[in-house]
Amino acid sequence: MEQVPAKNEMASHSPAWNIITSYNGPKVRIMEVCGTHTHEIFRLGIRHILPPAIELISGPGCPVCVTPVSFIDEALLLALEHHVTLCTFGDLVRVPGTKMNLADARSSGANIRIVYTPLDAYLYAKNNPEQQTVFLSVGFETTVPAACLAVKKAYADGLTNFSLLTANKTMKNAYRALKRSANAFLYPGHVNAITGTALCESLTQEGISGVITGFTANELLTALAVILTKTKEGRPFFYNCYPRVVTQDGSKTAQSLIAEIMEPCASEWRGLGIIPQSGLKLQPIYKGFDARLRFHLPALTGRSDPACRCGDVLQGKCKPTDCKIFGNRCRPEHPIGACMVSNEGACSAYYQYGGNL
């Protein structure tokens, strides 16, 4: 059995802890762009130790939170009118569309299957050749390779009943779009494990600062301390505080798989609008696997609940608790906005961990 450290041992002895708690410089806004970071920061109660000058913003790092309403509407159209089988990651079924969510559609008879990897969707299509199967392809560089692999296999098998509704996203241009929302980013360790460090490193030339970090208490505190120390120096900076996992080059295999199957495109982010070159769609030779083309989907503009302030939350313009319907009309068991759906969403994390306890 693991030996557990005595209570507070790490907290009171770590230099990072001291740097953070004794910080008295100018105001610093730090944005985490990974849902897992958001969740861990809440679980560890890191916000409670921050002096008022340090503000943590939960940015657009959870794939569910940035999925636009129109994407859910497209999925609903496929399920209810084209009667396809939708394969999706679990959290997505509770994201509100304009009129309903996918869970509602399932209750009214739509065929919606929860899968854990895109390969399960491909296998389902292969085993059920009479059934058109669409995989709802959301997620960042971490999940894209598996979706690409599914397409590659379906192509090799000549499947004609498998396609992807893509809403995949890449982070680089999101950092640019969010540049003014924060002084520094906590870069997502999982994503950088795929993309490598070069991308974030080059952003310093555009005045964008940040630190790649992992997910333990120690890793998170260290990264915050580095940001505070470096911000004081006043120059844009980049540090890799997660070298045991993230290398300079990242995963070449994953990168070339993505480049082989997909290409960049403009993409809509919930609350942030359309960001150029921030999404991925299928390469022309794989366009037979694009659900939008296969089913001639019209361009849809979704409408979210007017009270929902997810977009402001994602940009740090307000706290979840500033949203009028936080905790009353919008709760994890009945989410109105996407940030309340996944337990990595900012609103959900705020709610579950007792807000400003």
């Binding site: 507070n8 890191i46 999940t143 208490a217 990595e344 579950q352 007792g354 306890l357």
Partner: protein, 334 residues
């Protein structure tokens, strides 16, 4: 005799009696095992605990046990939580047509062994066969009777400020084992279920010091759910010390990968015990001598602040709320 279960095995005729003779009687035999319509039990004037539980688990066999062992442990542990010595048990099987007989025997053998260990006698049973596809392999329902020790007064409503909170071992193993055994995640990790009969552990606690306020087994919903239930029933606050909560490193690793909290994964061989602090340290010594409770630990205390809530002191010394239980456990997607 055939090698798989057929509908005829459930029809009540010769094949049914063959099945009972060859599988169930063989493994469950004791003087009170009934061939009649009901078992006859002799119980003196006593306070009894009486409980029933249905078991559906997919896959039916997993590292550390199978549905048979689980069905005995579940009922034995429910009785044990009331301070009741397990006495008699009945079991009802719903078996899918086509289920292999040797596997049924494997399940019956596990039941026999576990019942023997727990000191409970299987005295009555029922077998039904359902058509192919109507059940997932087999379902088992067990019902148990136990004799409550005169000194036992445990209830979820009895937690009091000043009590220590004990768990009798590392948490979340059964839930984690089942998730992995379903093989949907492509994760390989050496995790075995904690499924175990716990009457021995409970008895040793009562013989050490009977000032025990609450005993609950942390099955579905895990330790987190049980703590919230007790906080509410007793109208007290609970404060946990996160670093003191025992979690197997492999379970921690899997939870990290899937974004799950072991506090909300099921256990099948773990109790949550509330007792005044002085009693608790004695109980802990007794538990450490039991083979299913060697990693028992005090993980927190009861307070009169924030009744109904569970607060966690984290590994870095901050305080957060334990997210209240709710909804399905969904692994994260990035």
């Amino acid at each position: 005799m055939e090698t798989t279960i057929t509908l005829a095995h459930g029809a009540g005729g010769k094949q049914t009696s063959d099945l009972i003779a060859h599988v169930f009687k063989k493994h469950f035999s004791n003087p009170e095992f009934t061939a009649d319509d009901a078992a006859v039990l002799t119980i003196q004037e006593q306070k009894l605990a009486f409980t029933t539980d249905g078991f559906i688990v997919s896959p039916w066999k997993f590292p550390g046990g199978n549905i048979g062992k689980l069905s005995i442990c579940g009922t034995v542990n429910d009785l044990a939580c009331m301070g009741a010595k397990p006495l008699y048990l009945s079991c009802a099987f719903v078996i899918e047509e086509g289920f292999p007989l040797d596997q049924l025997e494997e399940i019956a053998t596990a039941m026999e062994k576990t019942a023997l260990e727990a000191g409970i006698k299987i005295v009555a049973g029922d077998t039904k066969v359902a058509g192919k596809g109507q059940v997932d392999h087999l379902f088992i329902t067990t019902t148990g009777v136990g004799q409550i020790m005169s000194e036992a007064h445990t209830s979820g409503a009895n937690a009091r400020p000043g009590d220590a909170v004990i768990v009798t071992g590392d948490i979340g193993r059964h839930g984690c084992t089942i998730l992995l055994a379903r093989n949907t995640y492509g994760i390989d990790a050496a995790v075995t279920s904690d499924c175990a009969p716990l009457w021995g552990a409970v008895e040793s606690m009562f013989t050490t010091d009977n000032n025990i306020h609450v005993i609950r087994d942390a099955t579905r919903g895990g330790v987190g759910t049980v703590l919230y239930e007790i906080a509410e029933q007793s109208n007290v606050g609970i404060r946990l010390n996160r670093p003191a909560i025992p979690v197997d490193p492999a379970v921690k690793g899997v939870c990290g990968m899937l974004g799950l909290d072991p506090m909300y994964l099921a256990c099948e061989g773990r109790l949550v015990v509330f007792a005044p602090k002085k009693t608790a340290s004695k109980l802990l010594e007794a538990l450490h001598r039991n083979k299913y409770a060697q990693n028992a630990a005090i993980i927190g205390e009861v307070t009169d602040k924030m009744p109904g809530k569970v607060i966690v002191t984290t590994e870095i010394g901050t305080e957060t709320m334990l997210p209240p239980p709710g909804g399905e456990l969904l692994p994260r997607i990035c």
